[in-house]
């Protein structure tokens, strides 16, 4: 276990006070490696909260640059960072928030090989992307490597979040939820999104990440939460593993 100095003990004191975390939990967080795919509306609060909480190694992946239309909801960025590479702009903000953590950035579309390598060295993966192609690709790699995947999505006034504990053979995967088909993405570019909605869903993804890293509480695995922000009503759907799932179904047969 790593040694924490007095300033670190003070920095994290409000979560060290929690008996579920304590000093040993904080030490675990300080050594944890989290891969964040997409640093937009969801990735902003995810990265900020995990950096603030002291997750030791954050890898940020996003190919984009900061655009004026992003600033309405992608709260990690500021106006002076327009046109910066997103991951570099985010790293600057996260280091200003917490200089004690390590941040690795990839401001590019990762090849399948590089993505697989990054999944391999991560303790858990958080999907904050904005398209089905990336979501299916990431899910396949996480299933193959049996890594926990926290998936969030938001558009308009509608948000969804689920957790796939792919290190457990009974967990459903993202493909059990969405069939792969020709892309019909309803993205924020075309349909718009209410700003705090991505904050709600992203903050919940960060909460689930801390719980899973520390193995505390009960995760959302096996459930899909759907939020309608217009009425602030949540629906909880039970989600089972699909035995015929082409991605995770065969894995469960071999276990």
């Amino acid at each position: 276990m790593i040694h924490m100095d007095d300033t670190q003990l003070l920095r994290y004191s409000r979560q060290i006070l929690l008996p579920q975390i304590d000093i040993s939990g904080q030490q675990q967080l300080c050594q944890a490696r989290v891969l964040i795919i997409g640093v937009g509306g969801l990735g902003s609060p995810v990265a900020l909260y995990l950096a603030a909480a002291g997750v030791g190694y954050l890898t940020l992946v996003d190919f984009d640059q900061v655009d004026l239309t992003n600033l309405q909801r992608q709260i990690i960025y500021t106006t002076d960072q327009l046109n910066y590479d997103k991951t570099h702009a985010a790293k600057e903000k996260l280091h200003a928030l917490n200089p004690t953590i390590n941040i690795i950035t990839y401001n590019e579309k990762l090849t399948a090989e590089t993505l697989a390598m990054q999944v391999k060295i991560a303790d858990l993966i958080i999907d904050c992307s904005d398209n089905f192609v990336t979501r299916f690709q990431l899910n396949k790699i996480c299933v193959a490597q049996r890594k926990p995947l926290i998936s969030g999505a938001a558009v308009g006034f509608e948000g969804q979040i689920s957790v796939f504990l792919l290190n457990q053979t009974t967990s459903p995967c993202y493909h059990c939820l969405y069939e792969e088909a020709k892309d019909t993405d309803e993205s924020c570019n075309q349909t718009g999104v209410i700003a705090p909605l991505v904050g709600i869903i992203g903050s919940m993804q960060a909460t689930e990440a801390i719980k899973i890293l520390l193995n505390i509480g009960k995760s959302l695995c096996g459930k899909l939460l759907i939020l309608n922000a217009l009425t602030l009503q949540w629906r909880t759907l039970k989600l089972n593993q699909d035995p015929n799932c082409p991605v995770c179904g065969t894995l469960s047969l071999t276990c």
Binding site: G40, E186, K238
Partner: protein, 77 residues
């Protein structure tokens, strides 16, 4: 003999209903329920479907008394 069909988010505008109730005589697949409720509009790709809050695929059977729900896909981030 009644079932309840609920539509969420943007589906409400597309379908023109929030909630429908109608009678069925025997069990139907959820895809057949969609056709009964939405006429010629085909089942959209990636749509999420649930019976009594349990996620199901389009072949799942709907029985009398069930609540059926349809949700649009969400991928934005």
């Amino acid at each position: 003999m009644t079932i309840t069909v609920k539509f969420f988010a943007s589906l409400r505008e597309e379908v023109g209903h929030h909630e429908l109730q109608f009678n069925i005589d025997n069990s139907l697949t959820i895809e057949e329920i969609w056709s009964k409720a939405c006429g010629k509009m085909p089942l959209p790709p990636h749509i999420l479907m649930a019976i009594n809050m349990q996620y199901v695929d389009k072949t799942a059977l709907v029985n009398i008394g069930d609540e059926v729900a349809f949700f649009p896909p969400v991928t934005g981030g």
